[in-house]
């Protein structure tokens, strides 16, 4: 069950049936979401699923066609309201960081602070300290590394004290090694600032690592919102199952609490009614060993460093994948027996 059900006063960002279409194309389709104070929500989906449009709708950079959005307790968009972005008190960290090239780091961070505010400089310095870049205050954006630019962008978004911070794929243009590092720093800064944040990403690993909760989007709709472990282990649709990680499906028939399949009788989660089902198995759930009477053949192997992925072809043509330690590879063409390791109940979908 979702952990978002808190007391109403704790909801900082509320979306109610938000819809945005471009002509015939519906980019965001009746999306409803609540984000609590201090929460970090990851919106995850493939490119083109509407997640960025959703984020831009919250920021006021896109005008929605229907629904309501409330931030900090006031309606910013609704049937009769439209508040422009500069009035919404929403901070945004853009994919390309979007630092103002003509302003110094300090100038960028102070941009959103009232020009005559007495504590303007102090506040900017405080924000820079938060992201660990005080000594860079007088530099210009082009003199910073990609990771530093992204931290300045974060400080700039946080400086005016927005009710919610939106991050639009903020790490996607950083190279792989740097990405994890900057990501960890960003989360630490958001926590330290006590900020409420929504992060949009297409990288499920990032969503799992960062989000207090994950909202999985597909073709404009939210398929599931929940804490990372639930989304990963108990996906509510085949799409979520395959998008969150490698997943294969074994046909079977469901009786009380167990599914009969070629891999044996497997424990399953409650939820699906009796009858033909498909049981989700992830590669790390399966273990193979050579067995002349086994139900499958190794069709292909793929070296993955510490592990070896084995692609298995069942006699009925279905394909499964199994991860083996690289110390115990099974050659292609070998007939194998397949065992489901661990006793956790598996997810089923109606066939």
């Amino acid at each position: 069950m979702s952990s978002a059900v808190g007391t109403a006063t704790d909801v900082v960002l509320a979306l109610e049936s938000v819809t945005k279409s471009y002509g015939d194309v519906v980019a965001v389709d009746r999306v409803s979401l609540d984000v609590e104070r201090g929460e970090l929500l990851a919106v995850l989906g493939p490119s083109g699923c509407g997640k960025s449009t959703l984020l831009r709708s919250v920021a006021g950079l896109v005008r929605i066609n229907g629904g309501r959005i409330r931030t900090g307790g006031r309606e910013v968009v609704g049937p009769r309201t439209w508040m422009p972005p500069e009035r919404r008190s929403v901070g945004v960290v853009f994919q390309d960081s979007a630092l103002f090239p003509h302003l110094s780091v300090a100038g960028n961070v102070a941009f959103g602070l009232a020009r005559r505010a007495p504590d303007r400089d102090a506040r900017a310095r405080e924000m820079l300290a938060l992201v660990g870049l005080e000594q860079m205050a007088e530099r210009y954006p082009h003199e910073l590394s990609g990771g530093e630019q992204q931290r300045v962008a974060l400080a700039r978004a946080l400086a005016p004290g927005p009710s919610v911070v939106l991050l639009d794929e903020p790490f996607s243009h950083l190279d792989r090694n740097l990405r994890v590092h900057v990501r960890e720093e960003t989360v630490a800064v958001l926590r330290a600032a006590g900020a409420t944040a929504v992060l949009v990403t297409h990288d499920q690993e990032e969503a799992l690592a960062v989000g207090d909760r994950i909202a999985v989007m597909r073709t404009g709709r939210i398929e599931q919102v929940d804490v990372p472990t639930t989304v990963f282990h108990r996906p509510m649709s085949r799409f979520v199952a395959t998008f969150m990680g490698e997943a294969d499906f074994v046909p079977g028939s469901l009786t009380t609490g167990r599914a009969r399949t070629v891999l044996g009788d497997l424990p399953v989660l409650p939820g699906t009614t009796a009858g033909p089902v498909e049981v989700m198995v992830r590669p790390h759930d399966l273990e193979v060993r050579p067995d002349e009477h086994g139900p499958a053949t190794v069709a292909r192997t793929e070296f993955r460093g510490a592990t070896m992925l084995h692609e298995l072809r069942l006699d009925d043509g279905a394909v499964l994948r199994a991860l083996q330690p690289h110390t115990a590879p099974v050659p292609v063409g070998t007939r194998v027996a397949v065992r489901v390791v661990g006793d956790h109940p598996l997810v089923t979908f109606p066939a």
Partner: protein
């Protein structure tokens, strides 16, 4: 809550408990202002053109019968002939030179790459009178020939249609050259190489791949040339060539026949529409976009021996004929007229007219730059189609021949005067028509596209997220323009100011029709002196115009045409 007049006085009652904040915000939404300004500018630009266009729909039979009986048939033939001949000439010269300079290496190739643009600084009405002065019967060339042979030595007629074509071609080929050159350098080498690998010899690959891909650019260049030919009515008069545009100025300045001038202007407008239709047709459905900026251009081939020198010679000849010789001749005439008398530097008229030129050029440039910033920013701030549409409308003036804009503004000004007169305001009859204001208005209509495009291009280089970032940080639209757009597009604004100022300074057709009585500019003076064959006196003002017009050519094109060469 006590009302704070500055922020909350306009707040309407919340009907159903939906938030109040959003309600009052709608009233104060600054975007309306930007949309309104963009709309107002678009209307102001379209109005004079629309006025002329509306007379197409409501032709006056009497006027047309009269025109048809007199010179109209001949004018039509001349106009079409001049346009076609000039387009063919400029495409041959411009595309040929672009191919030569872009595809081969030869001595001086890098320098010629931008020197070949120099004729842009030589207005056709200057180039025209220089060659009439040089080649006509009393000129130095024929005099010398007569000295060598006898008094009856044959020489082609100078004041003729073919010479007008030659002069227009020499003055206008840079438009085609620039666009063809850009098309060549944007073409990725891989396309050409693919054709070679597929078995095409170099020239066949050029004909089957490079040329078709450059076709949209060539069509655009040809359209520009055709428009300039339509606009011009000064140069052709030196050569006794009577186009429809010449007809407009005759019936206007000679007979003050407003109806006939309007009908002729609508005819010119029809020609312009035909030119644009032709360009679309020639371009076809082709939208050749190569993900271009980083693409490696086609390798240049080094020429050797006589071929290399022939290439150098061809480029040198063009630069000499279009720029060096005319400038030398103007200098010679200036030194003859000396420092005293008409047309000399100390002639008080020279300084006065120079001042007038600068006044008009500066005013037009500032107006275009300011409006350019506003419209370009408006399209960023409210990313809807309406604003984009207004921006496009606001830039149509550049595709409308000068005489059409002039006649349109005159009709509007006359209407405004009539209104003022009817209101009984003193001096109403000449308040609008006879002022520099009408002239500057016409220049803004004509040149706003130049200013807007320079600024928009430099704004286009900024990621859209910059505008979005500024807005989400709480900056109002006006503050976004002041604190983010303006500092970052300063170079674009500079380019806009220079381009518009120079174009306005050397502009002739509009100012000839619209200048208030007794208000002369350098361009007008040059034309008047040249029309009376007073070459020596025309020398200095013409040189002044050329000197100013060289500025953007050297500043802009030298930079854009050369460095890539060095890198490749």
């Amino acid at each position: 809550m006590t009302a704070q007049p500055s922020t909350q006085a306009t707040r309407p009652p919340a009907p159903d408990g939906s938030t109040v904040a959003g309600g009052y915000r709608r009233v104060r939404d600054g975007r309306r202002w930007w949309l309104f300004v963009a709309m107002a500018v678009a209307v102001a630009v379209v109005l004079p053109v629309g006025t002329v266009a509306s007379s197409i729909l409501d032709p006056s039979v009497d006027v047309w019968t009269q025109l048809w009986r007199t010179e109209l048939p001949e004018m039509l033939v001349t106009t079409v002939g001049l346009m076609l001949a000039t387009v063919v000439g400029t495409v041959a010269v411009g595309a040929g030179l672009a191919w030569l300079v872009g595809r081969y290496r030869f001595p001086g190739q890098r320098g010629f790459s931008w020197l070949l643009v120099l004729p842009l600084a030589m207005p056709a009405y200057v180039l025209g009178f220089v060659y009439v002065g040089l080649l006509d019967h009393p000129g130095p060339v024929q005099t010398t020939l007569r000295g060598w042979f006898d008094a009856n030595v044959w020489f082609p007629t100078v004041r003729s249609f073919p010479m007008a074509v030659v002069v227009m071609t020499l003055a206008l080929y840079p438009y085609v050259y620039l666009l063809a050159r850009a098309a060549l350098r944007e073409q990725s080498a891989t396309t050409y190489e693919a054709a070679r690998v597929l078995g095409q010899r170099p020239l066949a690959a050029a004909r089957r791949v490079v040329l078709p891909m450059a076709r949209p650019s060539l069509a655009a260049g040809a359209a520009l040339v055709a428009m300039e030919t339509l606009t011009d009515y000064a140069t052709v008069q030196y050569f006794n060539v009577t186009t429809v545009s010449v007809g407009i100025s005759r019936v206007w300045n000679g007979m003050y026949d407003r109806n006939a001038a309007t009908e002729l202007a609508s005819l010119v407008l029809l020609f312009a529409v035909a030119v644009i239709a032709f360009e679309r047709l020639a371009r076809g459905r082709a939208r050749y976009t190569q993900d271009g900026s980083g693409a490696r251009p086609i390798d240049a081939v080094r020429l050797h021996g006589w071929r290399a020198w022939a290439a150098t010679g061809a480029c040198a000849l063009v630069v000499a004929v279009t720029f060096v010789v005319p400038v030398a001749q103007l200098l010679a005439w200036t030194s003859v007229s000396g420092m005293r008398g008409a047309g000399s530097a100390l002639d008080p008229r020279y300084l006065g007219y120079l001042g007038n030129s600068l006044l008009v050029a500066t005013a037009a440039a500032v107006c275009c730059a300011v409006l350019g910033v506003i419209i370009a920013s408006a399209t960023r701030l409210s990313a809807d189609r309406t604003t984009r549409g207004f921006a496009r409308m606001a830039t149509i003036g550049y595709a409308v021949p000068g005489p059409v804009v002039a006649v349109g503004v005159l009709l509007l000004a006359a209407a405004a005067d009539a209104v003022l007169d009817a209101l009984g305001l003193p001096g109403g009859a000449v308040l609008v028509t006879g002022t520099v204001g009408a002239l500057i208005y016409a220049y803004v209509v004509r040149f706003l596209a130049l200013g807007y495009n320079s600024i928009d291009a430099s704004l286009e280089k900024l990621p859209p997220s910059l505008t979005a970032a500024a807005l989400t940080l709480g900056a109002r639209p006006r503050a976004v323009v002041r604190r983010v757009h303006l500092p970052l597009v300063r170079s674009g604004v500079g380019v806009a100011l220079v381009l518009v100022a120079v174009d306005a300074l050397k502009e002739l057709p509009v100012v000839l029709l619209l200048r208030p009585f007794g208000f002369e500019t350098l361009a007008v003076w040059v034309f008047q002196l040249a029309s009376e064959s007073r070459w020596e006196q025309a020398g200095l003002p013409a040189l002044t115009i050329v000197a100013v017009a060289v500025l953007p050519v050297v500043l802009l094109f030298r930079r854009t045409l050369e460095p890539k060469e060095a890198a490749s």
